[in-house]
């Protein structure tokens, strides 16, 4: 139904565009008046007036219709004599009524359900009809209003400008609200988690084993269970593993990426650049899961083999393998971005350096790189956040055991990997184990936020110094 309505609104608006355009044209010719805007702006004006109010109304209606119908139906069912003790049971009855209406309910239907289903059908009908009527009312009202405006030769161009500004504002508002929504959902679930697990036990605990948290209901925790839970959610091994793997990745990606960026920007001929730059960028297009099995099936076993030959014990899932492959994955980010940044350093600075007799590498080291430093730092930090957020390679190549270790040859795990582990398969949504995923998400979010803040401060400081 809604799709049909949207379709109708669109068709109607488009035809109004042509109507408004030609109408104003004829008026201006016939009455020989100077229009306040080009004819097409009158067309846009009609389109916007015809579509926006109707679409907004449709959106709001569709958001509230199910809620209202539900509360009405539950009330009717209660009046009919349906018995439910809490919200969940009421929901269940409502779902049954809906299913009966749709003909997909196969259980026993008693008279209460039957009556309610009839009432449901009635309300659905009523709501749909009134929706259609109201929408057409709105369209007619707004079209009459805008046509009248057009006849008065309004400043349609300025008006369109105002409406568009409003639309853009609403779009950014949606983006901001979504972000806030995500943050709050993380926050509320985390608060539930921290009502069971002490926040300090979480932040400073050195043992992570969420599978111990079999307790279902937070309110019925016994003292023994609490002691058991207390040290099951230690965050330290995860942040250590995350930082460690990201660190290994940066050790690989920053030098190689930066040097290849410098080569591309300063030394490579146009021909070499044209061929090699896309090839490096292909690295960024490889799905991370492919890197993951490359790390798990090729690099990991290779390291183990080498380690055995050297007399070292290397776990087949190791931080080294994951970090190395992650580093390779990140190279194109660093190289491509630093290439761009170095390219944007003005040629006049290089000329100035050459003119006092500096060689190319001296110029690059002492003039070009310092001038490009804010951008290079930016690209490195982007790479760091990519490394911290990366999940798939770690799941496949670094293992799942939350070892607190600084030995790169042992398996370790990261925050994102643990979130995956917690949320795959069956889970109870009110067990501390599941809620810990939200706490992890929140911590990761806060950590990245702090990192970004520091990064921006650093970039700003250098910029003041160098620009």
């Amino acid at each position: 139904m809604n799709i049909v309505l949207i379709f109708l609104i669109t068709i109607f608006s488009v035809s109004l565009f042509f109507y408004g355009k030609s109408k104003t044209k004829t008026i201006s010719i016939k009455d020989n008046i100077k229009l306040n805007a080009l004819p097409k702006f009158y067309g846009y004006y009609l389109v916007l007036w015809c579509s926006i109010p109707a679409l907004v109304f449709l959106l709001v209606w569709s958001l509230f219709e199910p809620v209202i119908i539900k509360s009405i139906i539950i009330e009717t069912a209660a009046n009919q004599g349906a018995i439910f003790s809490d919200k969940n049971e009421a929901n269940l009855i409502y779902e049954k009524i809906k299913a009966i209406h749709l003909g997909t309910y196969f259980g026993d239907i008693d008279s209460i359900l039957k009556e309610s289903a009839l009432a449901y059908a009635k309300f659905i009908n009523l709501f749909t009809n009134s929706k259609v009527v109201l929408i057409f009312g709105i369209i007619i009202a707004s079209v009459i209003y805008s046509l009248k405006k057009i006849k008065n030769n309004n400043k349609a161009r300025d008006d369109v400008e105002v409406i568009l500004k409003g639309l853009l504002f609403v779009s950014s508002l949606i983006a901001i609200l979504t972000t806030l929504g995500i943050i709050f959902s993380l926050l509320f679930e985390s608060i539930k988690f921290f009502s069971v697990i002490n926040i300090f036990d979480y932040l400073f605990g050195t043992n992570w084993s969420p599978q111990r948290a079999f307790v279902r209901d937070a309110s019925s925790i016994t003292a023994a269970e609490f002691e058991e839970l207390k040290d099951a959610f230690g965050f330290i091994p995860l942040i250590a593993g995350t930082s460690f793997i990201a660190f290994i990745a940066m050790l690989v990606a920053v030098p190689i990426g930066l040097f290849s960026g410098i080569y591309m920007a300063e030394y490579a001929s146009i021909k070499v650049r044209r061929i090699s730059k896309p090839i490096i960028e292909i690295l960024a297009g490889i799905p991370t899961v492919v890197y993951g099995f490359f790390a798990a099936l090729t690099v990991g076993p290779f390291f183990r083999q080498v380690g055995e030959n050297l007399g070292l014990t290397v776990s087949s899932e190791s931080a080294l393998a994951a970090g190395l492959i992650m580093g390779i994955m990140i190279i194109p980010y660093v190289s491509s971005l630093s290439d761009d940044v170095i390219n944007s350093v003005p040629q006049s600075l290089r000329d100035g350096s050459y003119a006092v007799g500096a060689t190319k590498s001296e110029t690059i080291k002492q003039v070009v790189i310092p001038a490009a430093l804010p951008g290079i730092i930016g690209s490195v930090l982007l790479a760091v956040s990519r490394a911290i957020g990366e999940t798939m390679i770690v799941v496949m190549a670094a293992g799942l055991a939350a070892n607190l270790t600084i030995n790169p040859l042992e398996s370790t795990t990261t925050i994102t990997t643990q979130i995956v582990m917690i949320l795959v398969g069956d889970q109870e949504f009110d067990s501390p184990k599941t809620q810990s995923a939200f706490a992890l998400g929140l911590t990761l979010f806060v950590a990245t936020l702090i990192l970004n803040y520091i990064a921006q401060r650093a970039v700003k400081k250098y910029r003041e110094k160098y620009d």
Binding site: D351, S353, Y354, A355, Y466
Partner: protein, 253 residues
């Protein structure tokens, strides 16, 4: 009559297929200011960029012919460009201080060439260069501030100081005042007058008045050819060539 410092013979420059200079024969006198004038795109800048081999930076640029400094062939393939540029400094059209402190801007060149091994020697070089470029009094208390924080005119004098810092013999100036206001321009011109006691100077300029004020010798370029060269006074009062006459009286260009 002073000595000839730089001598170009049948100098041709090509950018790819396009020829930018045609058989330029031009002598530059020692410790004198030579002004190069001419309409945009006539090859003045290309000519001075040959003197310190700055054209090497441009891949498609090809130079033929001879250009000698004190009898040494600048176009020689085996010539050490770094030591050439140590002897031939350059100041550009737009001030281009490095994004470093004022001090580091000046000490950059000497450090690269291993001059001024101790801090005090380096301090001395920086101070001398800034004094010679008449900037010392204005910046002596803020040497660690970024060079980019100076005004346009000060930045250009900083760039002149940077060029002087490696103690060159020749200074090339590519329209050094075109981005500056008249007061800053006057200061730079004053400075050029002072500098010519020590250095051989070549200045490319679009301002006829500037050429008259600062130079002893003037060369007029048009479409890649050196049309006329001679004493500045003569070029501006009584040129031999009709085209020169037309250009300096503002009939074209």
């Amino acid at each position: 009559m002073s000595n000839i410092k730089i001598k170009s013979k049948n100098l041709n420059v090509y950018y790819g297929d396009k020829q930018a200079l045609f058989d330029v024969n031009l002598d530059l006198n020692e410790k004198e200011v030579t002004a190069l004038i001419g309409p945009s795109g006539c090859g003045k800048s290309t000519f001075i960029r040959c003197i310190n081999r700055m054209n090497d930076v441009i891949d498609i640029c090809k130079v033929t012919g001879n250009i000698e400094m004190d009898g040494m062939n600048i176009n020689d393939k085996d010539l050490d460009v770094v030591s050439l540029r140590e002897r031939v400094g350059m100041v550009f059209q737009k001030p281009n201080p490095f994004p470093k402190s004022i001090y580091d801007n000046i000490s950059y060149g000497p450090k690269i060439h291993g001059k001024g091994e101790t801090k005090s020697e380096l301090d001395q070089i920086v101070e001398n260069s800034l004094k010679k470029s008449a900037l010392w009094e204005e910046v002596k208390d803020r040497l660690d501030e970024p060079g980019t924080s100076l005004s346009g005119g000060q930045q250009q004098r900083l760039c002149i100081a940077r060029a002087i810092s490696v103690n060159p013999e020749v200074i090339l100036m590519d329209e050094p005042c075109s981005a500056l206001d008249p007061i800053a321009t006057a200061k730079i011109e004053e400075l050029i007058d002072e500098l010519k006691k020590t250095y051989t100077i070549v200045i490319v300029t679009h301002s006829m008045a500037q050429a008259v004020r600062v130079s002893q010798k003037t060369g007029f370029f048009h479409l890649g050819k050196l049309i006329e060269v001679g004493k500045t006074e003569k070029i501006f009062k009584n040129p031999d060539n009709k085209m020169t006459q037309d250009y300096i009286t503002g009939r074209f260009g």
